[in-house]
Amino acid sequence: MRFRPGKIALIATVVVSYLFLYLPIVHIGLASLSRNSSFPYPPHWSFATMSRLLGNSLYQTALGNSLLLGVLVATLSTALAGAATIGLMRHAGRKTTLFLALFIAPLFVAEVLLGISSLIFSGLFLGLQGNLGSAVLANVVHCFSYALLIMATQLYRYDWRLDDAAMVFGATPARTFFEVTLPLIWPGLLGAFIVTFIMAFNNLEISFYLLGATPTLPSVAWGALRYGVKPELYALATCVNLVVLCVLAVMFVLMRTGLATFGHRPERERAAV
C-alpha cells in the first residue's frame, strides 16, 4: 500500500479534535464519580457526589422547570418551523428568498442579544414580569431557526406530487396533510423536536434574562459556578451529557436500522427528478 501523508494528516486532525472535545467531558465524568475529585487518576469510585446532587431539592425544582421549558419550546418551534418549511416550499413562490431571510435571521443574532432585547421589550415596554412563559417565547425565536434548517435539509427531497395526487382524488387539504404529508415527514419533525428540546433545556443566555425568579438547571448551575467549581457541578454536567448522548444514540440506531429514515429516502431521489 502506498504511503499517503495527506490521508494520515486528515485522520490525525479528526482524532485530535475528538480528543480535544471529549477529554474535558470524560475528565469531569470521572471526577464526579470518584472521591479524589480534582485529579481522579486512578479514580477511587464513589457515588457520594451524585447522591448529594440528586438529593438537592433546588436542583429537583430546576430540573422540572427545565423539562417543562424544553418541551414547550420544542413543541412550539417544531410546529412553527414545520409550517414555515412547507410554506417556503409550496406557497412562497418568488418571495422565497425574502421569507427565508426573515426566518433564519435569528441565527445571525447572538443569543445574549435576543435575551436582552426580549427583556427590554417585555419588561420595560410591556411591563410584564419575567416568568417561564416569556422565556419559552424568546427561546422559540432562536430554536425556530434551527428547527427550520433541520427540517429544510430533510424535506427538500420530499415529493410534493404525492400531495397533489391526494388532492386530485378529492382529499381536502387538511386530510391530505394528516394522511399523506405528516406520516412521511414525521422523522424530520422528530429530529427537530429532539434537537430544539435539548437546546432549550440547556439554554442560559436567552432564558437568564426572561426567567424572573424561576430556577432552571442552567441558571442554577450558573449561580453555583460564580462561587467556584464544585464536584456537584461536574456531576450535573455529566448527567446531562449522558442523557443527551443516549438520546442521540437512540436516534442514530433508529436511522441505521431503518425504523425511522429521517427524511432520507434513496428511492425517491431518483423518482423526484
Binding site: G6, K7, L10, T13, V14, S17, F20, P24, I25, H27, I28, A31, F39, L80, A81, A83, A84, G87, M89, H91, T96, T97, F99, L102, F103, A105, P106, F108, V109, A110, V112, L113, L114, S117, S118, I120, F121, L124, V140, V141, F144, A152, P173, I198, N202, L204, E205, Y209, P218, A221, W222, V229, Y234, A237, N241, V244, L245, L248, F252, M255
Partner: protein, 286 residues
C-alpha cells in the same frame, strides 16, 4: 381553486410570530439606547449620549477591539481546524460518517454553562492540564489560567462543533466525483482541494464562519469564567449593564453596536464572494 388559507397559515403565522417576538424587541432595544438611565430609572429624553460615552470612554473601545480581535482569531482557528476534520470525515468516514458528525454535535447541544464547567475541569487551576503537569513534577502552566489564551481555547472549544457541522453539511451536498475527475486528469490532492473543493464550498464555510464569529463577538460566559482581569470582552461588559450596574440604556446601546457589527460582518463576508460561483442554487430549487 386553491384555498388561500394554507399560505396564510404556513407563512403568515411564523412571520407574525417573528415580527412580534424578534423584530419588535430589537427595535425596542434601539429605542432604549437613545434614552438614559438615572438611579435605576429610565429617563425618556432623546439623545445620543450613550453612544458618545461608548465612543469616548477608553475602556469600552478597548473591550470592543479586544472582542473583535478575539472573535476573528477564534473563527479563523475554528475554520482552520473544522475544514480538515469535515473533509477527513467525508473522504474517509465511510459508513460511519453520520456517527462521526453526530459525535461532534453532542457537546454542542449540552449548553454553554455545562461546557464552561467542563472547560474549568480542563484548564482550571486544579484542572486536567495542570494536574498532569504537577503529577509529572512540572510547574503549572500559567498561560492557560485566567488569561485571554484560556478564553480563546474556551471559545474554540465552544464553537468548533457548529463550524464542523456546517462545513460537513456543505461537503455533503458537494459532488465528490468532481474530485475524482480532477485526480484522473492528474491534479494532486492539494490542487484538487484548492481548485475544486474549497471554492465550491465557500458558501458553507462562510456560514460556519459567521455562526462562530457572531456568538464569539458577544460572548459572555467563557471570558467571565476563563479570562482573567485583562479578559473583559464587550458582551460580558454589556451583560453587566443589565445585571450589577443597572444601566440598561447604556447596555442597550452596546447591544445595538454589537448587532450592527454582526450584521456588517455577515454583509461584508457575503459580498466578497460570488454566490453563483460557489454552487449555491438557493433553497433546494434551481
Amino acid at each position: 381553486m386553491r384555498s388561500r388559507l394554507a399560505p396564510w397559515l404556513t407563512l403568515g403565522v411564523p412571520t407574525v410570530f417573528l415580527i412580534a417576538l424578534f423584530v419588535l424587541p430589537l427595535l425596542s432595544m434601539l429605542v432604549l439606547s437613545v434614552w438614559r438611565t438615572e438611579n435605576y430609572h429610565i429617563v425618556q429624553d432623546w439623545n445620543l449620549r450613550n453612544y458618545w460615552v461608548l465612543a469616548t470612554d477608553g475602556a469600552y473601545a478597548t473591550f470592543l477591539l479586544r472582542s473583535i480581535a478575539m472573535a476573528t482569531a477564534v473563527s479563523v482557528i475554528c475554520t482552520a481546524i473544522a475544514w480538515p476534520v469535515a473533509y477527513g470525515i467525508t473522504l474517509y468516514g465511510g459508513r460511519y460518517k453520520l456517527l462521526l458528525t453526530l459525535g461532534f454535535a453532542v457537546p454542542f447541544l449540552t449548553g454553554e454553562v455545562l461546557r464552561v464547567i467542563a472547560l474549568q475541569g480542563l484548564l482550571g487551576p486544579v484542572g486536567l492540564v495542570n494536574g498532569v503537569l504537577m503529577s509529572l513534577g512540572a510547574a503549572p502552566l500559567r498561560a492557560i489560567m485566567y488569561t485571554n489564551v484560556a478564553s480563546a481555547i474556551g471559545l474554540v472549544y465552544l464553537y468548533l462543533p457548529i463550524v464542523v457541522t456546517v462545513i460537513y453539511l456543505s461537503l455533503l451536498n458537494f459532488d465528490q466525483r468532481l474530485l475524482d475527475a480532477a485526480k484522473i486528469f492528474g491534479a494532486s490532492p492539494a490542487r484538487a482541494f484548492f481548485e475544486i473543493a474549497w471554492p465550491l464550498n465557500l458558501f458553507g464555510t462562510l456560514i460556519g464562519f459567521a455562526l462562530c464569529f457572531i456568538p464569539c463577538l458577544s460572548a459572555t460566559l467563557a471570558p467571565r469564567f476563563l479570562g482573567g482581569p485583562n479578559g473583559t470582552l464587550y458582551g460580558m461588559a454589556m451583560a453587566q449593564q443589565f445585571g450589577e450596574s443597572g444601566t440598561w440604556a447604556l447596555g442597550a446601546a452596546m447591544g445595538v453596536v454589537l448587532f450592527v457589527l454582526s450584521i456588517a460582518a455577515v454583509f461584508v463576508a457575503f459580498r466578497t464572494v460570488d454566490l453563483r460561483r460557489t454552487g449555491f442554487t438557493g433553497f433546494g430549487r434551481s
